[in-house]
Amino acid sequence: MTTHLTQSELPPGAAGGRSGDGVPTGTGSRGTRILGLVALLGLVFLGLIGLWASPEDRIQGNLVRILYVHVPSAMLAYLACFITTVGSAVYLWKKSRWWDLVAYASAEIGAVFTGITLVTGMLWGRPTWGVYWVWDARLTSTAMLFLLLLGYLAVRRIPAAAPVRSKRSAIVGLLLVPNVIIVRQSVEWWRTLHQEATLFANGLESEIHGLMLFAWFVGVVVFGVIFAWLLIHRFRLAWLQEQIEEHGLERAIADRRAEADAEAEISGAAEAADPSPTEPGTDSNGEAAR
């Protein structure tokens, strides 16, 4: 993404200030490029470990491999949710726009990871249970988390002035973790009254092969790095968007003014070159017509 903003217009601590390479013409910096490279290499490594090196599960067979993606994304979804609530709280407390945008960026990435969790979970569930969806406590509460995050993102996108939007979404974000806890707890009671065993009780946690545990650990680390990379980029993008919202109109007006001045100069020069006498009012009339 390119913008016309210059370093001077960005407050300290903004994307440009943090990127360390002068004018922010994008959301990348040396740090994020290294982070991105680490994430890519990590993904390749995770692929090798998860798909080849690690053994099949005794009960689940090859299906266990999907969990190397599923479990880390679920963990990060909850982490993202937590960051959003913390960011919202700090915003309400200190009115720091930085934290406000961190909360926003985190919620959006959290929604993506929750979506990945749900999709991979369904892909895993179809061969395992024979259906894509069961009304298990975990599945249901993850789906509710997804809907709560979508609600937060809907508030972020309301067409309103920036402070209004920030404050309202901060209140929604602040209530996000309490809501997730209440929903999770109630859904758990709801389901456990009907069926005793949870689905993960046997098979996954009972006995984990060393290499499988390692693959799972690599998955958590790699997804953590991806999360950090996405968060930094999304945050910088949000920051730049806010700058455009703030300065975009001023800048457009200044540009139009400059254009008008340039035209006036050209026509002024043409009039000066024209030897025919003009009435005194012409100039201002011409200006008004324009």
């Binding site: 809907l147 309301i158 067409p159 309202r168 209140i171 929604v172 809501n179 209440i182």
Partner: protein, 222 residues
């Protein structure tokens, strides 16, 4: 705070008594939902009476959305929001007052809907103590959370579509708890229902506290 709450609740209820919007529009809507359930589910096989707790609370939730929208529509005209802010009333009091007014309207609606399911679905109502306490808890929970999210969505161009998206996932525990408690009451196993009433009470308390603290800042911004 409580004097201010009484003032606001009195104002909202007087408005309702004179305009009768909830009575003439929200209550018929709730009854309509009951009839629609009968169309959607086969009324001859006893599904309706078995599913009464769920259908009843879904009807209450949908009607509550309308009642909450209405409670904030009356504040949106003629700069009423600014007037409220300048009135010198305690924001926590305003919150409690609006929630109380919504709760009173919901309570009336729940009684009418109860008669509705007893007549239309031929549900035999039993376990009265649990039924009434569940209604009180759920009403408080819906009103407390609804008022907080209602003011969040109020004054926005997208409020009608935003409020259900925000509020319904949040109210999911209330729906679960009140439905289970009703099931327990109707099936005669009242002992199973009381833990759910506890959940309703905790939910209502959490949201009343959140509303008392958060309503002021939300009212300030327009």
């Amino acid at each position: 705070m409580f004097r201010d709450a009484a003032l606001i609740a009195g104002k909202d209820l007087r408005l309702e008594a004179r305009s009768r919007v909830a009575l003439n529009q929200v209550v018929p809507f709730a009854l309509l939902v009951l009839v629609l359930f009968a169309f959607a589910l086969d009324p001859d096989r006893g599904i309706l009476s078995r599913a009464t707790p769920g259908l009843y609370w879904i009807a209450v939730l949908f009607s509550a959305l309308l009642a909450i929208q209405r409670a904030f529509t009356i504040e949106s005209a003629d700069g009423n929001r600014d007037a409220l802010r300048l009135s010198g009333l305690d924001p926590a009091g305003i919150y409690l007052g609006k929630a109380a007014a919504i709760a009173v309207q919901l309570a009336v609606l729940e009684v009418l809907l109860g008669i509705g399911v007893a007549v239309l679905y031929s549900t035999h109502l039993a376990g009265w103590g649990l039924l009434v306490v569940t209604c009180v808890g759920a009403t408080a929970a819906i009103a407390a959370a609804g008022t907080l999210y209602g003011v969040l969505a109020a004054g926005l161009r997208v409020r009608e579509t935003l409020l259900p998206l925000l509020l319904l996932p949040v109210l999911a525990p209330v729906l679960i708890a009140s439905t289970r408690a009703f099931e327990a009451a109707l099936s005669g196993a009242t002992a199973d229902g009381w833990p759910w009433v506890g959940l309703l009470a905790v939910f209502a308390l959490v949201y009343i506290v959140a509303g008392v603290v958060g309503f002021g800042p939300l009212l300030e911004e327009t």
